[in-house]
């Protein structure tokens, strides 16, 4: 995924479900409140724009930056989150894509082509949220990139069958519970957490006839809203633990930074179920449920990775749509690259020429004031000479800028030219 350019350009640095196991991804995950701080740190290292996309499947920094030291800052930032640092640091789990590859990567991500569940639609909202959370630091190029990424995601979903059928983690949870209980109608479920994912999964269960008995959350207001909609009762988390003795399904999706369903809290309670199966669906990131709970004989515990694996199997028929989706991604990458390549080149060249011409004109005028004896023909010669000289001087930079634009490296070079000649940064 690398092209080897060393100047300022678009980069994506990160880890995803292909490169890092769940427990590593958990450590790299950034909550919304952590995004500005993380981006500020990377931008302090030289990036001129940044967006941080952090979901349960990926943590990716989209940057407009030099290779070094901004990328180094990202690895350092991620590496600090590892409990034991492998020899290669965080980069052992990660990847870098540059320029056109980085653009294509984001377009594939927003289309669901890079998701565990092929074509899943949740990523579209997560890309939007990441863009909005990073709006202050994104800069014009990444604004445009994320804006178009959302457009590409929409195009792929409407023009191909990549999003057809249900293949979310939530629906996979229903499928897994179905393999334990058979008919889900009349089964009892308790929900821990009241976020979007909890609500979505609870709705999936409710659609199958599962009775949502409790919705437990740290803040009751949101829990009450879901409980009212699905027919359950809103309680606090502490009130939920005894219900692990009677429920059939526990759906956990809190935003807690550590496991809340621990052996100490529910081990004895579940042990008293006399072998009655309990299906625990842990959709949270980081995980809500202590993995030790799965050691209890009739507890069937599934986390996000498990459910996404199940869902991925259900998406086999979506694979037929991959070529059509990839074509859209490629077309849109070409369009973005054309825009990015030519970004501000023409106006910059115009502005540069105008500035230089102003300088030339001022200087020629100053010189000609001192050379009163020159005839009008000689004055014209001097004027002509100065213009020829200016053209000679600007010829090479103009050619280089146009060439860089054609190769998609215009933005980085433009920024250098603007810095060198004291022009305003591109809008």
């Amino acid at each position: 995924m690398t092209t080897g350019h060393m100047e300022m350009g678009i980069k994506v640095v990160g880890v995803n479900h292909r490169t890092a196991p769940l427990d590593v991804r958990e450590r790299f995950a950034h909550g919304a409140h952590e995004v500005p701080g993380a981006l500020a740190r990377v931008m302090a290292a030289g990036a001129s724009g940044g967006v941080l996309l952090s979901t349960c499947n990926r943590t990716e920094f989209y940057l407009v930056a030099d290779d070094e030291p901004a990328l180094e800052a990202v690895w350092s930032l991620l590496g600090e989150r590892l409990s034991s640092t492998p020899s290669g640091g965080a980069r052992e789990y990660g990847y870098i894509a540059r320029d056109r590859d980085a653009v294509r990567h984001l377009y594939r991500v927003s289309s669901g082509l890079d998701s565990i569940i092929l074509g899943e639609s949740q990523i579209q909202g997560q890309v939007r949220e990441a863009w909005e959370a990073s709006r202050a630091q994104a800069g014009p190029v990444l604004h445009r990139l994320f804006q178009t990424a959302l457009h590409v995601g929409s195009r792929v979903r409407t023009e191909t069958g990549l999003g057809m059928g249900t293949a979310s983690a939530a629906s996979a949870g229903v499928a897994v519970a179905g393999k334990i209980f058979g008919d889900l109608a009349g089964r009892r479920a308790l929900i821990l957490g009241a976020g979007d994912m909890a609500e979505l999964a609870a709705t999936c269960l409710s659609d199958q006839g599962v009775q949502i008995t409790l919705v437990a959350n740290r803040t009751q207001e949101r829990a009450r809203a879901i409980a009212e909609r699905l027919g359950g009762k809103a309680v606090s988390l502490d009130e939920a633990w005894p219900h692990f003795a009677t429920t059939d399904i526990a759906l956990c999706s809190t935003a807690a930074p550590h496991a809340v369903v621990t052996w100490e809290r529910v081990g004895t309670i579940i042990g008293a179920r006399r072998g009655k199966p309990l299906c625990i669906l842990d959709l949270a990131m980081p995980r809500d449920v202590d993995p030790a709970i799965a050691q209890l004989e009739n507890v069937f515990l599934y986390d996000v990775d498990d459910l996404q694996t199940v869902a991925a199997q259900a998406t086999a028929r979506r694979r037929d749509e991959i070529p059509a989706a990839e074509r859209i991604v490629e077309d849109e990458t070409d369009l973005f690259w054309a825009w990015y390549g030519g970004l501000g080149v023409v106006p910059t060249i115009k502005e540069l020429r105008a500035r230089m011409d102003d300088v030339r004109a001022t200087e020629v005028e100053r010189v000609l004031r001192q050379l009163d004896h020159l005839s009008p023909a000689d004055r014209a010669q001097v004027e002509q000479f100065s213009q020829a000289l200016l053209n000679k001087f600007l010829h090479q930079p103009t050619i280089a800028l146009k060439k860089a634009a054609e190769e998609g490296r215009g933005y980085g070079l433009l920024e250098a030219v603007r810095r060198l000649f004291g022009m305003e940064p591109p809008a």
Partner: protein, 273 residues
Amino acid sequence: MSWARPVSGVIVTLHLVALALYGLATALTLAPFMGFRPAPRVLTIAIPCAGAAVHVVAVSQLTLVGLGPALSMLALCLVLLQLASERLLRGSAVSFFAAPLATGLVGLALLSGLAPGAETVGARNTWFVLHVALSALGLALMALAFIAAALYLLQFRELKARRFGQIFQLFPPLERLDQLNRVALVAGFPALTLGVLLALGYGAQFSGGLHVAKAQLVWGIFTWVVLGWAVWVRVVRHWAGRRAALASIAGFGAVLLVYVALKLTQPGAERFL
């Protein structure tokens, strides 16, 4: 009185046709595990149905005395139960075990000979036919309980280990398998009990008609006790899930072991034991 009467070619041919159809059904059933596309459901039902139909005709012409006829009867009961349970489970998982088992039983029946055993006096008597049919049904139900238990344990292991491969996809839900195990045991016990009672009634009415070996008596009673125990732990002690599955497997295994042990000590195909 007929003695080691040769079996008709029709019966053997019908058994061979049934064997071929069961073999084909087994191949279709196991195809997904060998990386082939699953066969259309209509085929996986129609082929064993056709096999069972041919088999019914063949069994109806058999004199149900001796190892071969007993195995043939057992195989037929198993196939019929397989077809019934597939309706209950809405899937073909039972056939993963039942189809090869039935194929093997028919093959064994053919190998050991379908001719009746030594004595056939009274073998066409209704009580005797009912005794054999109900006993075979009871054993087949016990085998079905074993199959459901084995499927349960395999699916249980996959679910606990979070593996979502062919077993997860193709096997039925745990609770449905548990339910099948319970139904098979609960139905099997009265069938076998009736089979045993009919044997006693037959013995009382036609004493001296058919010789009952001690081994037959021991195995019959042992099987009845084991099945009774399996039903007792399920119904009275409320065992369910993995523990009940293990009990079923242990019970069926014990019955099979005792049968093999007795058969080895008293070889010959004159009787089923």
